[in-house]
Amino acid sequence: MNKTININLGGYPFTIDEDAYVTASHYLDTLTNHFSGSEGEAEIMQDIESRMGELVSRNKGSRVIVNKIDVLEAIAVLGTPEELQDIDFSQAEIKQKKAKSSSFQLKTGKRLFRDPDDQIVSGVCSGLASYFGIQDAVWIRIAFVLLTMLGGASVMVYIVLWAIVPEAKTVSDRLEMMGEPTNVNNIAKMVKEELEGLSDKIQETFSKKQKKHRFGQTPHSSGHDDDQPLTSGFSWDGKLPLRKKEKVTYDHKDFV
């Protein structure tokens, strides 16, 4: 026994088994996703839906209720999303990319985030500074302190901002915070900077250890050998910028 549902598929009325309905609706949803962002997506989906209705009604013949096989046959004729990818999707994809890049252009307007990289209390001030394009967050901080001393409600304002402004957690958050378009290049740049910062930290930790234990030849360069596959393609030469003035007395190659 199967429940039936009454549907209108592209202008064709059907009484359809529940499992067949689930299949059909999942298929159409996948396709909608697939074409989303491409030119005239609504129209494409409308055409596909009415064609699907036609196919199903043909498959059904004189039967009263549409079953799953009818739906599956119609899907086979129309093509699964994987098959659609084959010929035309690359074109749709280009369109999609265009659409996306233009929407990213719109997004170039900054968003307010708290900056976890430059925080004293919670990063509200540095977030405000990047939002208003002020180079140094210290001015905002001074303003806050002054306002507090003048007896303003700035402490309250600060706490409210702390509570409602999200922290810039991801790379794209940070790009949006700085008002740079979120595209692949910028993200790659950001990740690269982050990795360099990380390797700086590793370097520092290792050089501290070196001092402590007087390890003459701690092969700390192995640390970034592990990092390297992550940055492949980002044209990072793999050299660690040395912060400390200590000179490395051995060649990195010796340990590879």
Partner: protein
Amino acid sequence: MKAQMRKGVLDMCILSLLSTEAMYTSDIIERLKKSNLVIVEGTLYPLLTRLKNGDLLEYYWMESNSGPPRKYFKITEKGRSFLADLKDSWTEINEAVSLTTQKQS
């Protein structure tokens, strides 16, 4: 590569099919399937929409005795001149390719 090439000629084939008569989408698909240019129907709808939005095609609704009205596509004037251009460059490419490949063999 093969898919790329096929994609390139699909536009021309559709325009060429429609240059003689207005056709219903599934009839277009039927014809293209016969020549193995299209395997699944779904690929054609984005293409037709794109050509239509580029004013190369237009459509009208036709009543059907079985079910809702059908969309019939036909070529526009702009489509015709575009098709002529396409055909010209197709011939050029064809000649160029056969010339080069003949020299190689």
